[in-house]
């Protein structure tokens, strides 16, 4: 069954207030085109869950679409901090459930396995846990190990309404390959009630059947497939294209202030009627060709 559709239609399936797992990690495989369309459609009040904070979450927060972020922290590395997320936390306009990377991966894993809770050695003794007690006291608890009697911190599973995953290769059913590190994308998708796959390449199912061990996301978990090249720009997609240094710097500078960020949104999000329009705005085919990954290096 074909599930291919437009980005606008896939995004329109997400109601305001939904819980959405996002596939980005800092500056890699961020669901940027998706985030732009969410902002354009005026979807609000989202809860976003992500292992390590990425540009897709940051622009959604800055664009006013997010009420709550459930994440493990993170920055853009040498490209600096996620200013929209940090500003939201500092100003109290964004509810932040801050965990660690592993706590997030485990919460998605518990959701994927259908477990009632998952024990973890992390967080204990830290102010991260104290802060969670204030922000989200119902998301963790303690149990005694029935075998040893040891006391364990346990986390509540995450079961997002939808996972949005930026991948390299998928077919029209949504069977998808993720190349390179997958962070916790597989657990996110399998924890979620359904998934939207945004793919750089759309291939016939025969291609998938030839190398099925590469399939990370089975099509039966997928509700929509969107075939959209450069949909993660300006972030990187391993083996397809590199991150766009100049554009990320432009974003980083703009997002330092609410005014600067609004100008960025006006130009690249509201100023583009769709993703194809956006690709023209950032420099079109000539610019994008310069970002294509070297086949040996993968970047």
């Amino acid at each position: 069954m074909t599930k291919t559709t437009t980005l606008a239609e896939a995004v329109a399936s997400i109601p305001s207030g939904a819980q959405v797992a996002l596939s980005g990690f800092a500056i890699s495989r961020c669901a940027m085109a998706f985030a732009h369309e969410v902002i354009r459609q005026g979807i609000k009040g989202l809860t976003v869950s992500q292992c390590v904070c990425a540009m897709d979450a940051d622009i959604l927060v800055g664009g006013g679409s997010v009420e709550r972020i459930v994440y493990g922290g993170g920055s853009r590395g040498r490209f600096g901090q996620h200013h929209c997320v940090n500003r939201g936390i500092e100003g109290g306009t964004l509810i932040a459930e801050e965990h660690s990377s592993l706590s997030m991966a485990f919460r998605h894993l518990a959701g994927a396995l259908g477990l009632p809770f998952i024990p973890i050695r992390s967080l204990r003794g830290s102010d991260v846990l104290k802060r969670l007690q204030e922000v989200a006291p119902s998301e963790f608890s303690y149990v005694d190990d029935p075998f040893t009697g040891d006391k364990w911190l346990v986390l509540k599973p995450l079961v997002p309404d939808v996972a949005v995953v930026q991948v390299q290769v998928a077919d029209e059913e949504g069977n998808a390959w993720i190349m390179g590190s997958r962070w916790d994308n597989e657990e996110q998708v399998k924890a979620s009630k359904r998934a939207i796959v945004i793919t750089e390449r759309l291939v016939p199912t025969d291609v998938i059947r030839r190398d099925p061990e590469r399939t990370v996301i089975p099509g039966f978990r997928v509700s929509h497939v969107v075939h959209l090249p450069f949909a993660a720009h300006p972030s990187a997609v391993y083996r397809v294209y590199d991150y766009d240094v100049d554009h990320i710097r432009q974003y980083a500078d703009a997002s330092k202030t609410p005014e600067g960020f609004q100008k960025y949104l006006d130009k690249y999000v509201y100023g583009a009627k769709d993703h194809w329009d956006y690709l023209e705005l950032i420099g079109g085919m000539k610019h994008l060709t310069g970002l294509m990954a070297d086949p040996v290096l993968g970047y």
């Binding site: 990690f25 390590v52 990425a54 660690s100 706590s103 290096l297």
Partner: protein, 256 residues
């Protein structure tokens, strides 16, 4: 040797970091100095070290500078590319990581690390990176090595936010919280510290060549334990400096 060997404080720290690693150990690293320290150990006394990055990367051999762990440049020629549950779960959480390198905005007399915020957590503050895998490594690794710049604002009696626990308020506090392991060393650009086995308070182990004790103490906001017998940190050898400059980091890509 007739003339004194020239080296940078960064190179000395990398060598001190390498010295902390034993052959065959599994080491969780981040970018920067820990990478050089670990590669150096691997090319000298510890060829069978396994290097891992939290997001699912084992033994990469990068040839270009990465902006962070998410940069495919730092995954180049890896032996494994997987994910968090694989690395932080089946390796770190299971208890297989021998050494984790950690850094942060500030640390304190008991090796607690703050990577979350500066200011008053209940009032006005500036928010930074948060945990990432830092809390997980601090909680689950058998031991951790903290790398931090030697400045009074980074070496405080107590951190304003415990992102990654060290020995908490000292003594048996860490064990009481249900945590194993803990920080074994703190390496700055002026000295190497350990922790007192009983009180778990930071203790000077050695001072880097060319630094006076007053210089070390006046750039800290707390008083560490100072033993009577205080050695000078062993400087890098000519071979170590050559390896760093010519083979491990000829482009200077890990230097901050």
């Amino acid at each position: 040797m007739t003339a004194d060997l020239e080296y940078t404080p960064f190179e000395l720290m990398a060598v001190a970091g390498a010295r902390e690693l034993k052959d065959g150990e599994i080491v969780a690293v981040g970018l920067g100095l820990p990478m050089i320290a670990t590669f150096l150990a691997k090319r000298t006394h510890a060829p069978n070290i396994a290097i891992l990055f939290e997001l699912g990367v084992v033994d990469p051999e990068p040839i270009h500078t990465g902006v962070g762990l998410a940069d495919p440049r730092v995954w180049y020629r890896a032996k494994v590319l997987s994910g968090f549950v694989d690395m932080l779960g089946t390796v770190l959480h299971k208890g297989l990581v021998d050494v984790g390198f950690l850094g942060g905005l500030e640390t304190d007399a008991y090796g607690n690390l703050n990577t979350t915020l500066i200011g008053d957590p209940k009032g006005k503050f500036r928010h930074f990176t948060g945990s990432g895998g830092g809390n997980d490594v601090a909680s689950c690794a058998r031991r951790t090595v903290i790398i931090i710049r030697h400045e009074a604002r980074r070496l405080n009696e107590a951190v304003s936010f415990v992102t990654s626990p060290g020995y908490l308020r000292g003594g048996g506090d860490r064990e009481a919280a249900g945590l194993r392991g803990g920080p074994s060393r703190v390496i700055t650009d002026k000295a190497v510290f350990g922790f007192d086995p009983e009180s778990k308070r930071m203790r000077l182990e050695s001072i880097h060549p060319g630094n006076a004790l007053e210089d070390v103490l006046s750039n800290m906001a707390f008083q560490p334990i100072v033993p009577d017998d205080l050695p000078v940190t062993e400087p890098p050898t000519a071979k170590q400096v050559r390896l760093i400059r010519e083979e491990i980091d000829p482009e200077g890509m890990y230097a901050e």
